[in-house]
Each structure stands twice: as C-alpha cells, then as structure tokens.
Amino acid sequence: MSQTIHVTVNGAAREAEVEPRMLLVDFLRQTLSLTGTHVGCDTSQCGACTVHVDGVSVKACTMFAVQADGSAITTIEGLAGDGALHPLQAAFREEHGLQCGFCTPGMIMAAADLLARNPSSSEGEIRHALEGNYCRCTGYHNIVKAIQNAAGQMS
C-alpha cells in the first residue's frame, strides 16, 4: 500500500515510498535519517517534534508523511544556512537555554515561527507562544532569555 511522495527537505528534493500511516516525524527520523526531530509524547502536546512545513511550525507527530507530498519541510538540521548558526541556535547556547537538549530542536523551531510572526514579542507573548513545547530541565527561564536575545539579533 505504499505511495511515492515528493518532498523538499531542508532545500533538497527527496522522493520516497511510504505507507500512508507513516507519521511525518518517523519519515524524517527513519527514512531520511534526520534524527534531530524528536518524539516525546503520544498526545500531540510536547512539541519535541516541531518542524516547519511550508513555512509554519507543525507537530510532525500529528501529520502523515503523505500529507507532506509536494510540501517544503525545514527541520532543525536545515535551520542554519551556509554553515553559520541561526541566531536562535546561537542564542540558545549563549543564554544556556538548553540542558539535556531533547526538547531543544522543537523549541527552536517553534521560536523561529514565533519570531517570524511577531519579531518583537514580549516576555508574556513568548511564554504563551511556547504552550506547545514542554521542557523539563530549564524551567523555561533561559529559553525565554534566549528567544529575547535572538529577537534582538534578528531585528
């Protein structure tokens, strides 16, 4: 029952045979070996699987790969351009916005979407925009600072 899908992932055109029931996150992790996108829950809440599909943040665990046929996907591996870190990546390091790193790719992708929509978010807006991303390590304090730092760099 496989289908052929064509997706652009991190700028590269990819073609693959997938079962319709294969989740996008599993397609990325297993078929494309892009293991930077993580699975942290099974109720579409934790956000560790957040990627960008056609420019907006999406939970890759709540999409099937076949739904992405014809779409452009950006994962954490594709965020940096030309080898330089994206300002958010640099800011997360600068502000110690990560500890174990497991929520970090999803957190950065969600933050990238936030800053694209609202480049001058307040602290409250940042915290609310992270409603779909859990962190168990940092208490979010430095994550907020990292996003504020990146917003400053990007403005």
Binding site: M1, P20, R21, D42, T43, S57, Q67
Partner: protein, 288 residues
Amino acid sequence: MTPYAFEYTRASSVDEALALLDGHDNAKLLAGGHSLIPAMKLRLSNPSMLIDVSGISELAQITASETAVHVGALATHRAVETSEIVQAKCGVLAEAAGGIGDPQVRNKGTIGGSLAHADPAADYPALVLALNAAIKVAGPSGTHLIPAHDFFLNLFKTALQDGEIITEVIFPALSARSGAAYAKFSNPASKYAVVGVAAWVEVDEHGMCTGARVGVTGAASHAFRASNVAFDLSGKHLTAETIAAAVAGMADAHEMLNDLSASSEYRAHLCSVMAQRALTEAAARAMG
C-alpha cells in the same frame, strides 16, 4: 502507537470529496488532522481510507459580505486569528481562535474539522452558538444550512450526516451597538476548555439590552446556549449588578460534567464566573 493501515487519497474539489466519501465505507475526511490523527494514534479511530481535503483552496477562504463573515471550513485557527476581515467584523472569533491549543495546532487545525469533531470542550462551539452562526454543509443531496442551535447534539455528535462535508461557517457581522467576548477557563493539562463562555449582547441607543446570547462549552456533554441568562438580561441595562444576577446559578451542577479536571459543582461555579467576564467585556464593547 502507529495507526492501523489505511488508504490515502486527495480530493481537489468538494464534489470529488463527496464522491469519495460515498464510494468508500469507513472513509473519513482529513483536514488539519489534529483531532483525527491523535485518535488514530491511540487506535480509537480506525478509518480504512483518509480523504485529504486540505488542498481544496476555495474552502479556505475568509470573505465578508455586508452582513456576515464567511469562514471557509478549511480556514486554520491561525488564519481566523490573523484575518483582518475577522478582526474587523467579528473580533471575538479571532480572539477565541488565538486561544485554541497552541501555535503549532493552530497552524493546522481547521474550523470545519473542529466543528465536525464536536469535542465537548472545543472553543468554536461556544462562539457558533453565541454568535448565531450557520453551518453550511454539502452532501449528496445538495447544500443546506444548519443553524447553530440545531448543530450540536451530543458528545462528539452533530447534525452532520454521513457523507456530508462542512464547506463554510457564516457568522453574522457584529452590528454597531453590539459586542461579543469569550472567556475560557482552561484545563491546565490539555488546554481544552473546562468551561468556555461566549457572550454576545446588543443594546439600544439608551444602553438597554435588546438581545443577548450566551454559548457555553466544556461544561456539559455538548455546547449549549444558556438561554436563561440571555432572557434575564433582555430589556435591562447591562451593569455589574444585572450581569451578576443573571449569571448566578445559571448552570445546574447536575448537568455539568464531573471529571478529573473539575467537579460538577466547580464547573457550575466557573460557568457563572466566565459568563460574568464574557458578558462584562461584551457589554463594554457594545457600549464603547
């Protein structure tokens, strides 16, 4: 878990979607997928075919006429939240959409999908009831409109028949001297509404209430109109006192859901609190 296997196809028009639905037993429409896919991952929902309608672009439009805002069934929550048309003509809808789930969910979830799924704690049903929206449905026997008060029947059950698809939701534009607001008390875990109250009021040139509707979600097995509250306010000035009196005891604890997130008694209390907040804000908007 991985869902059970299914076939996947895309429909590029409403007619094609209807034909596919008609031609396959146990097929389901897939829009944003953020109600359906979680259920499939729990293996609670096991369609043998998914008909992806998300590419039917005419269903994603948001347009305005003189008197109404037409929200295409495939408009994402984020599209509704950020639509200038919605913000101008029916601002409460944009505000409520902005509180659904989280940003990632809002990028995919659609109003049509949400209404068809009819989760008793979803936000849109309260808005649909308070704003007296109409749900436009296409089916094998043509299109028809289902008024808000006929739409929500029971837990996860609507007036939508098998083989039908929601195409748009029509919200009357807010007239001058009317105002609407939505107050939601969220479940801290799921972020669904423990109680969500949408209030719409209309006043005359003397500030007297000529119309009110209160839609409540999250509190019972399906969204409902608190007609007693609306009735109480009719013909009165909307003050802190009249609002407080109208909402006091508005919900019968016996009819409230009782679960881990809130007892019936607390839910009934929250109905009054959220109704008070929604009505207060709606009144301010109507008179401002």
